[in-house]
């Protein structure tokens, strides 16, 4: 049985190659991480609320992710934004209407201003019901 001894030159060569390979892997990892970095997504403006049949006649459905209230009345469907028109806080739904917890603006059940500091009514949001039968609401 013959034994091979590693010369100093070979050892240095092997070590150097290993170190450079590790450097390459680390650099590659950094590059992948850099390329995979994503910017923060913007606030969504298009919401798919599912089948419109989910909203029964006479229902008031809170959708906090928008935030909005989907109202289904005899007159039809409407979507009322719950973003206060003063500075953008989310208003709270009460039996008498809507109250902004930030600065006390009050709105009647139709979203009209009853008390400031807000001066504009709550927005009625645009929506479409395409062929898939889903309710799509837009905040922009």
């Amino acid at each position: 049985m013959s034994s091979r001894t590693l010369s100093r030159r070979d050892f240095l060569k092997l070590a150097r190659t290993s170190v450079l390979a590790a450097c390459g892997l680390l650099g590659l990892g950094g590059l992948i991480r850099f390329l995979e970095a994503q910017t923060e997504p913007a606030l969504p403006t298009d919401f798919d609320l599912g089948p419109v049949s989910d909203f029964a006649p006479g229902s008031r459905t809170l959708r906090p992710e928008i935030p909005a209230l989907v109202l289904r009345t005899d007159a039809g469907l409407s979507v009322l934004s719950l973003v206060c028109t003063h500075l953008g806080c989310t208003v709270e739904s009460k039996p008498e209407g809507y109250i902004c917890p930030c600065h006390g603006s009050r709105f009647d059940p139709e979203g009209r201003v009853r008390r400031g500091p807000a001066t504009q009514p709550l927005r009625s949001l645009r929506f479409v019901i395409p062929q898939d039968g889903h309710l799509h609401v837009f905040t922009n």
Binding site: R9, L12, K13, A15, R16, V19, L20, A22, C23, L26, G27, G29, G30, T39, E40, A42, L43, V83, H86, L87, G88, C89, T90, P101, C102, H103, G104, R106, R114, R115, G116, P117
Partner: protein, 419 residues
Amino acid sequence: MRRYFLFFGSVLLLLSLLIAAWQESRRPRPVALIPTLTGQVEYCLTCHSDLAQISSSHSVKTFGCVVCHGGEPLALDANLAHSTMRGGANPSDDSVVQASCGGDNCHGGSPETYSDHIQRATTSIQATYAGAIASMLYTFGAQPDLTARFAVSVVQDPQSSSGITGLSAFGQVQASNPAIKLFGQNCLNCHISAQPLPGTEYARFTGCAACHTPLTPVGLLPGEGQGVTPQVHKLTTAIPFTQCDTCHNRGNYDLRSMTFQSRQDLPTDRLHAYYQPIAQFTTCEYKLECNDCHTRTEAMGGGSLYGSKKDIQYIRCKTCHGTPTELPLTKTLTDPNDIAFRLAQLNPVIDLKIGDTILMTDKGDPLWNIRPLSDGSYELFDKASGQRYTFKPVKGSGCTQDPSRQDSASCHQCHSVQR
């Protein structure tokens, strides 16, 4: 030799890369917030997610952090993130308040929308110190009368309705009197932009936060708050008397040496927290919070430049108690946009409704925390603790005081408590 050089060079490169990777791994994963008001991403919550929301009026989800504090919203390095903050930790300091808190919809609006807070605060006696300066200059012969001409710093207000449209900086005073120079050196720190004196009994911020960020919990006397960690990320209109006492009742200015002589006694109860040994006080004066009676106009200013404290501070005993011949002024709330509702919403110690009657000052300021009861008495809600008190009017009480003499000194003749 070249082989060794290449070997050690590659080891050095590996070490550098490992250190870079290690530092990168220590960096926190960013926590993004997109406030609805700005729609711009900010990473402040990466480190500050445990910070309490500053007030219900400043929802972090709506406002975020940067709109008030400034700073670099996308930086994850603390030094870089904080490098462009306004006013350090206090964006309400007078030097930056317009950028931090201003704007038509915030605190830089008009009196009609009740949003002229910055105008009020920066022109108020609390900021200018104009009355004390005028009084001192007149006393030492540097000006011929008590007219206010100087403030701590320059203030111009061409729209001022008080007749004073501008005040020069105290540094412009041309006087050689050593007392005036000492006043400038030692006494100009008595305003809301000045840094407080050392000591927990003086601890307060500057600007709006000087009053609206109480550093002693409600109910504790000045100095008793030691050891209690105050919530400094807080803005409130529920201001306890202790916050007023960080400036007031802390001592006196010695007019001979023009130095501040701090009080040496530690008050053991609220009555003795006052620092006017010969002054007299009635129960309400030492049980209530200062702002239970003193209106926001008095405390924060009326929006114009004033030459003296007496030009803006006008509440008297009769404002709440009336006189032997007249009941206090009242007002029935019919307008849903009445300022009383706004103030009660900010500090909900009372549930005001349309049709409620509240007390009102003779200048029209609402005393929104006080309303008459059906039995002829009145109820008052302490603005800091929410505690309910009741009191009776002077009329019908048997008081024989001359109705034309309703200054506090006259009332104190019978109603002061022993100190």
